[in-house]
């Protein structure tokens, strides 16, 4: 496009020169000189204005419970007096689980002088994970479309933004609760009697969503603010969830959904547990003790930044075995192998199998 503009401008310049030859007047001399100087002046002025362009972006939320659309708003601020008819912002949207699977887009928008421009777009995440919107470059043509200006490495604060989409809690997964409470009879009996088979390991401020039963009333009265007790199940070291983070997108997404469902179900049953997965980035097994919704969210949030392991490696289980951790029950959530079954069926079946496998592991 620059070449076309250059050709067109050259033609205009040639016509102007023809006028100078033909008319032989001072006016035509000034006109020719004007057309010669214009691109140079335009380049200098536009460059000065372009350097004053700043970008900010933000999202409507940083943590999403479900795969809902997120609106990303980008603000281009122009501190100069130069209006810019076309500023092209290149950005990418990636999911941390699948960094190579990314959307790269460009948007050409006008930027008004002294104010700027705002543009927003929606991101509709199909899978759970941590999504990052990163501005790759800002570029712009000058008014005459002869010069192109670019800015790379837009790493200034506020230019990029991210949000986390949590897995979805499924209702169709009905795992046999008895299976993974094997070896936890004491706790179960205790619960039946009304006593909590758990101990307080941490006291913190009240957060919306915490059960009223967990409020430490005495301490709250003393501190003049609501404090809650964080319980940890006595059997948490005995119930371990191992999640295999594998690269197949749809399978991984579904597995995380199942994991969340299992986690939530366990929490609903007041069962503490340990969530384990193999961190490819750190090269070690990550184990997160989960006793309530807050710790679960924290664990999931951290998990979303992980990179998946190669398919079929069962890195989580191998890592667990290698770590030599003790457990009364292990629930191994992994992609199942088998033909002729839907993923739901496989996972359902495997969940049962896994539970039976946990005895072997323990």
């Amino acid at each position: 496009m620059g070449i076309i503009s250059l050709i067109l401008y050259s033609i205009i310049l040639a016509i102007s020169f023809g006028m100078l030859v033909f008319f032989h007047t001072t006016t035509s001399q000034i006109l020719f000189a004007f057309l010669l100087c214009l691109p140079v002046i335009e380049c200098i002025v536009y460059r000065w204005g372009f350097q004053r362009i700043q970008i900010e972006s933000q999202t409507t939320g940083s943590l999403l419970d479900e795969k809902l659309p997120v609106t990303v708003t980008m603000k281009l601020k122009n501190a100069s007096l130069i209006p810019m008819p076309e500023v092209i912002v290149s950005y990418e949207v990636t999911n941390h689980f699948y960094p190579e699977e990314r959307i790269v887009q460009q948007i050409a928008i006008p930027v008004l002088a002294r104010t700027g421009q705002e543009f927003s777009f929606r991101v509709e995440p199909e899978y759970c994970g941590c999504y990052e919107m990163k501005v790759l470059a800002i570029q712009s043509w000058d008014h005459l479309h002869l010069w192109k200006f670019k800015k790379y490495h837009i790493d200034v604060a506020g230019a990029n933004c991210e949000f986390v989409v949590e897995p979805k809690r499924l209702h169709s997964i009905a795992i046999d609760g008895e299976a993974y409470t094997t070896g936890m009879e004491d706790a179960e009996e205790s619960q039946n009697k009304g006593s909590d088979f758990s101990e307080v390991h941490h006291i913190r401020e009240y957060q919306p969503g915490d059960s009223l039963k967990d409020i430490h009333w005495k301490l709250s009265a003393k501190k003049q603010m609501l404090m809650v007790k964080e319980h940890v199940s006595m059997s948490s070291s005995q119930l371990i969830l191992i999640v295999e983070l594998e690269q197949n997108q749809e399978v991984l997404d579904h597995m995380l959904d199942v994991t969340k469902t299992v986690c939530m179900d366990l929490l609903d049953d007041k069962l503490a547990y340990t969530l384990c997965y193999w961190s490819r980035q750190r090269g070690e097994l990550v184990a997160k003790a989960i006793a309530n919704e807050g710790s679960r969210q924290q664990a999931f949030h951290e998990m979303m930044y992980e990179k998946p392991n190669p398919v079929g490696t069962n890195a989580g289980r191998e890592g667990f075995a290698y770590a030599g951790m003790l457990a009364s029950t292990v629930v191994w959530i992994h992609p199942a192998e088998g033909d002729g079954c839907s993923q739901d069926e496989i996972l359902y079946r495997d969940a049962s199998v896994i539970v039976s496998m946990s005895e072997v592991v323990s």
Binding site: T25, L31, E42, P83, A108
Partner: protein, 765 residues
């Protein structure tokens, strides 16, 4: 737009509120205004044409804003252009006299300026029928500026074409620059700002409005490129306006800087560069003296003699330059005819030239001892002819410096003719060639002879013909071109009955020949009494040198008479056996002004019909009220005609549409017929519903549409299912539906129409 890729979908959410059509329109109006006002300003100020600047500024800005609002949406565009057409037609007709006069006033001022610059002897001067220039000029300026804006508005709003803009607007400043007149920097700046702004908008690509033409029609504020990976906004009026301010600042600052620096640097371009302009100067001078049509003369010398060519000149253009100079000592004020071309044989569209070898008056010189000497100098006339006065002989070896010396005998030809009787053909043939008695047989010639009532002596017949032409025919310098297949004289006598001297002379020649009198067609120049009276006295010349023989002493002097090309003329010669060839004048007198018609007069004649020549004779004072009333009547009449044409056109198009639709219902394929019929019914229902903000348009699939029919109780379940099955067969299978099925489908289709009718009746009640 939704981009779905690898688990992430991005949707352009239109949180982009700046796309206001109003700002878009204003930005376009600004562009149009800058270039039009700049262009006119350069021209008007350069030529020093007085005009009310503020009024022109406000008026043109208003026009440009109104025109740009036509592109506000599709409705304003579709309706607005029709309304605009009628308004413009009405105003043009109503104010035609003002526009015409104002335009001519501007042209006259320009020509006066050209005359002063180039020291031209004569330039075109147009008749301003309304003399109040303060009124006429501003009206003409707004009319022409509005017309230019109308064109530019379309070009800029649709295409943002700098080339188109330059083509339309550059001529006025270019002409001013050509004449090396001083143009105010303000107007140059405005024009340049407009050009730069249009270039910037075009190159950025962001100028597509919601109602732009072609594939780029922008329903949405964005378009998508590079396989949907690039989102581009279409247009942003505010940015365009800001860019306009920016370009104005750029042009202003840079212009002032260069305006100071360049003259100070004394840059000298080679003088040789200027020769290209000098070449074109002649053409521009021709335009100034001949008008624009001067570039397209039918013959080389339409102002001088045509060498017997007939019918090729629509409108005579004179250059007012002197063609011939006569130097002699006049003894009377009779016009002097200078014979150049003699036509013998008539060929329908020209006269064949006859060479002068039958000079009967030679005998006169032997008996005459009193002669006059006359010098004929060819200044600018066709060099292929001698320009010889009646009855003269050329002095041997007298030709020098394009001047020929003749000795001539001033004879009163009218007296000769009054006594010349008409002889028989055989008697004439003893003296002259038969060609001078040949004439084509056209009823129009004989009818003209009858109407003229030709009888008596040659002189009487000549007078009868002249009187006949005077009363029944009109002299005009705009006779129009004779159609290629028509005979020149027959077309003149039978059809147009108006013409210039060549028409009358040719017709009279043939009428005389049909009457049995030898006659021939002659072209040359005439020095009339007016030219003789305006002749310049040659101070150091002796009258005796211009007289031969025993002349009595008279109060006379040697004068030089300048004969311009406007004095070129055609007449008839008749043969009188006792004397020879005698010239007769048959062309009626004319009140018509010198030839100054132009392309604008052609426009005027189109607007006013054939009555232009007559109208020009009207006095300016009488025009004010009467002419305006006439113009208004004509305007209304024209408006009614246009309206009728429009309505008739709409009705015609409706019939064509119905015809096409009916054709599509009666093709060879029944399935195709049913498909077309159902599609038409759906479209009809969609249109009706759209007007009522209904929801039928939302139903896209046939199943949805049939659900709607059932819900609205237009069709029963059974009928809907039946029709839908038939449509499925018709639309989506190769199977042809049977005649019975087609009839059933048609019956059901009719039911789709009826409820609408009933409902509309109920609503009307």
């Amino acid at each position: 737009m939704k981009t779905d890729k690898k688990g992430i979908a991005t949707v352009s959410d239109h949180n982009y509120k700046q796309r206001s059509a109003l700002w878009d329109c204003l930005a376009k109006a600004l562009m149009v205004f800058l270039v039009v006002y700049g262009s006119f300003g350069c021209f008007l100020s350069g030529f020093g044409i007085p005009y009310p600047k503020l009024l022109f500024f406000v008026g043109l800005l208003g026009i440009d804003i109104i025109l740009s609002l036509l592109f506000y949406n599709k409705l304003t565009k579709n309706i607005g252009y029709i309304v605009l057409f009628f308004v413009v037609a009405f105003l043009t007709t109503l104010l035609f006299l003002y526009i015409n006069s104002g335009f001519y006033a501007i042209v006259n001022i320009v020509y006066e300026k050209l005359q002063a610059i180039w020291q031209l002897k004569g330039v075109m001067q147009y008749t301003e029928r309304i003399e109040n220039r303060q009124v006429t000029i501003i009206i003409a300026l707004l009319a022409t500026g509005g017309g230019m804006s109308l064109l530019l508005n379309s070009i800029i709003s649709n295409y943002m074409s700098l080339f188109g803009t330059i083509v339309i607007t550059i001529w006025l400043p270019l002409f001013t620059l050509y004449m090396d007149l001083q143009m105010p920097p303000l107007y140059i700046g405005l024009l340049l700002t407009g050009y730069v702004l249009i270039f910037m908008a075009k190159r950025s690509g962001h100028y597509i409005t919601k109602v732009s033409r072609g594939k780029k029609m922008a329903e949405e504020p964005f378009c998508y490129r590079k396989k949907n990976t690039q989102i581009r906004y279409q247009q942003h009026g505010m940015v365009l306006l800001q860019t306009g301010v920016y370009s104005a600042a750029l042009v202003g600052i840079l212009g002032i800087l260069l305006g100071v620096l360049v003259p100070a640097m004394h840059i000298q371009t080679p003088e040789s560069w200027n020769r290209y302009k000098e070449i074109t100067d002649e053409y521009v001078k021709d335009i100034a003296t001949l008008g624009i049509m001067g570039l397209w003369n039918g013959y080389e010398s339409t102002g001088g003699i045509s060498g017997g060519k007939l019918g090729g000149v629509s409108s005579v253009r004179a250059d007012y330059e002197t063609d011939i100079k006569l130097t002699y000592a006049p003894t009377n004020v009779r016009p002097i005819y200078l014979r150049a071309f003699v036509g013998g044989k008539y060929c329908g569209d020209h006269w064949e030239e006859e060479f002068l070898n039958d000079e009967k008056p030679n005998e006169l010189f032997e008996s005459q001892n009193k002669m006059q000497r006359i010098l004929v100098t060819n200044v600018g006339a066709n060099m292929g002819y001698w320009y010889q006065p009646y009855y003269s002989i050329m002095e041997p070896l007298s030709v020098y410096d394009n001047t020929t010396q003749y000795y001539y005998i001033p004879i009163d030809t009218e007296l000769l003719l009054s006594n010349a009787k008409v002889y028989s053909k055989e008697e004439y043939l003893a003296y002259v060639d038969a060609v001078y008695l040949e004439s084509p047989v056209f009823p129009s010639i004989d009818q003209a002879r009858e109407e003229a009532g030709l009888e008596g002596t040659v002189g009487e017949i000549a007078t009868q013909i002249a009187n006949y032409f005077e009363t029944e025919f009109a002299y005009t310098l705009r006779p129009g071109v004779t159609p290629g297949r028509r005979d020149f004289v027959d077309y003149f006598l039978g059809k147009t009955r108006k013409g210039l001297c060549a028409h009358f002379a040719s017709a009279a020649t043939l009428m005389l020949r049909r009457q049995g009198i030898p006659a021939r067609y002659v072209e040359g120049y005439v020095a009339t009494y007016q030219e003789i009276e305006n002749g310049e006295i040659v101070e150091d010349a002796d009258v005796a040198d211009y007289r031969i023989g025993p002349w009595e002493q008279e109060e006379t002097q040697v004068i030089t008479v300048e004969i311009a090309d406007t004095n070129a003329h055609a007449w008839v010669e008749v043969f009188v056996p006792e004397f020879g060839w005698v010239p007769i004048e048959v062309t009626p007198s004319s009140d018509e002004e010198p030839p100054n018609a132009d392309i604008w007069d052609l426009f005027a004649s189109m607007m006013n019909g054939e009555n232009l020549a007559g109208e020009k004779q009207m006095e300016v004072q009488e025009l004010d009220q009467e002419a305006l009333t006439t113009q208004m009547e004509k305007g209304l009449r024209l408006l009614c005609i246009l309206l009728a044409i429009f309505v008739a056109g709409k009705v015609f198009l409706q019939f064509v549409r119905i015809g096409k639709r009916e054709r599509s219902f009666h093709t060879a394929s029944r399935s195709r017929n049913l498909e077309n019929r159902y599609e038409y019914l759906c479209e009809r229902r969609r249109r009706r519903r759209r007007k009522k903000q209904g929801e039928f348009g939302n139903y896209v699939t046939q199943s949805e549409q049939f659900r709607y029919y059932v819900e609205e109780e237009i069709l029963s379940d059974e009928e809907a299912r039946s029709l839908m099955e038939l449509l499925q067969i018709a639309c989506y299978s190769d199977e042809e539906i049977s005649t019975e099925q087609y009839k059933t489908a048609r019956r059901l289709c009719k039911k789709l129409r009826r409820p609408q009718r009933k409902r509309s009746k109920q609503q009307s009640r």
